[in-house]
Symmetry: C2
Subunit: 346 residues, 2 copies
Amino acid sequence: QFLTGYYWALFDGHGGPEAAIIASNYLHYCIKQKLEEVVGGITEARPPMHLSGRCVCDSDPQFVEEKHIHAEDLVVGALENAFQECDEVIGQEMEATNQTGGCTALAALYFQGKLYVANAGDSRAILVLKDDIVPMSCEFTPETERQRIQHLAFLSPKLLDGEFTRFEFPRRLKGDDVGQKVLYRDYFMEGWGYKMVEKADLKYPLVHGHGKQARLLGTLAVSRGLGDHQLKVIDTNIEVKPFLSCIPKVNVFDFALHDIKEDDVLIMATDGLWDVLCNKEVAHMARSFLAENRTDPHRFSELAECLVCRARGKKRGHQWMLDDSHEASYDDISVFVIPLHNREED
Amino acid sequence: QFLTGYYWALFDGHGGPEAAIIASNYLHYCIKQKLEEVVGGITEARPPMHLSGRCVCDSDPQFVEEKHIHAEDLVVGALENAFQECDEVIGQEMEATNQTGGCTALAALYFQGKLYVANAGDSRAILVLKDDIVPMSCEFTPETERQRIQHLAFLSPKLLDGEFTRFEFPRRLKGDDVGQKVLYRDYFMEGWGYKMVEKADLKYPLVHGHGKQARLLGTLAVSRGLGDHQLKVIDTNIEVKPFLSCIPKVNVFDFALHDIKEDDVLIMATDGLWDVLCNKEVAHMARSFLAENRTDPHRFSELAECLVCRARGKKRGHQWMLDDSHEASYDDISVFVIPLHNREED
């Protein structure tokens, strides 16, 4: 008996393409392996306490029910474990071949009537439905993960080796600021306070910068992803990896609860697209393009191309510009458009 | 020049009333002090980089704007710092007087046209408006905070002193489970997986039980609150405190964005109420009680009494029962009902 799934994934490399290449060769294999390991639980609506199916306790099913554990949770767990496994494989491969670098990973799995999207990094997936836009991922950057990163430094100050401050300030402090009270945030704060500046606060901040300029340890623009096992802050012995996490967040969409229309699609793209186009703009383009090209069998890949071209803009003099005269994306841009209708046909 | 604020708070003690008593005497003082410390920033729409107001850098206002820092963020920061300060005071007082115990804390502050609700524990605040129910807090329990708690044990395994396992299982494992694959979750998992049971997995789980029975280290039913500095797991040297956090989550409601009606209220209550009545039931009772007693000047405190009576139920034989024949609340029940209309009148 076979269980069939469909898989798509985007990997956005940094510090070289090697990690992204290994990830693209291995992640689907890791996911398949992790799903196979729990297949005895996935095929039942209520997974058994023991994979063998044999109850050790009469009350086992009751405990599983109390914890609200469903087959879906095993798929989520398999994806979470697969990212960890894949990260380890990449670490070993890169060390063995003396290569460096890392990548973000955004993986979509269609399995047993549900769409699972696992994300580690700053790529994004959205569902564009007839009357709705459903975000299927959120971005992990030094800014969105500031509290997790600062908390780790609070718990293990050694990780900063005396070279960084864990506090966030609106800008890098200078000598003139010492002795003054300036705006700051510590790990436990969503709000801001004022702090009397000491000399140690002049160190480079653990998380620094704003928006696309935000950096983790002055080094990385993302806070989750695969690889980077060897990555150290330049001219120091400080490792980025414990702050950089390979753990994905998994979102689930149950097709049984929605009436999927002919032009409904899943759009997955790297930050190169989302830096210059918002969800609404992308959804608007998708809906109008697909409506105008309903008989074209290649309309989905053409829409992906069209989105890339829009984000890349047009050359005007020395600059690439969007149609609305904003600056275009200088980053690499990858886009998948995946039709959701007639899912079970082939 | 004076800034006026209004403050209400609920403290639900455990292991004796002492921590709750100290907290009720000190928290408002800590909040006042923390607000006074940043008052120079609160009175401006855009807080200055330096509390003195003197720019060290011409670009300071630009950095503050980029970080989207507003006066509201200083109030949130002041509340976060006040909880930490109050927790330290409680720790010192309790040690000096050789007392033990802790408490949850739910504090509401009306300040400059906004309502701030800071919560550490399992009490709850909701706004009951004419056409809407707005949750102003979420509960912090060993169940809702499982991943934070497990992650801390992963980072600092010494904290468990070899006596607990950080893994979650649907039930406590027994000798018969060793060598079998059973359902489990680690810190990085929202989903579930199967794990081959080893002898070490038979230890008591860090987070165990379900719903109201969930316990942190077999000891506490809440994962955030004030006090408990001396609390150790019975018969061990394991301290609960690093897992128990005093950090509140602050929610903000801006009255300028809402049209507040005559019967709109803030309801704050301990878990004794929410264990047996859901938000909708409480809102329904509040709306109908207030509509029926519109001329009664004591209707708000009478509604609070009425909610307590409803949750306590009626004695039938040896049991206290709700009107719908479910079991009533055996826990202590405290309720505040705070009218929101005509806020600026006195």
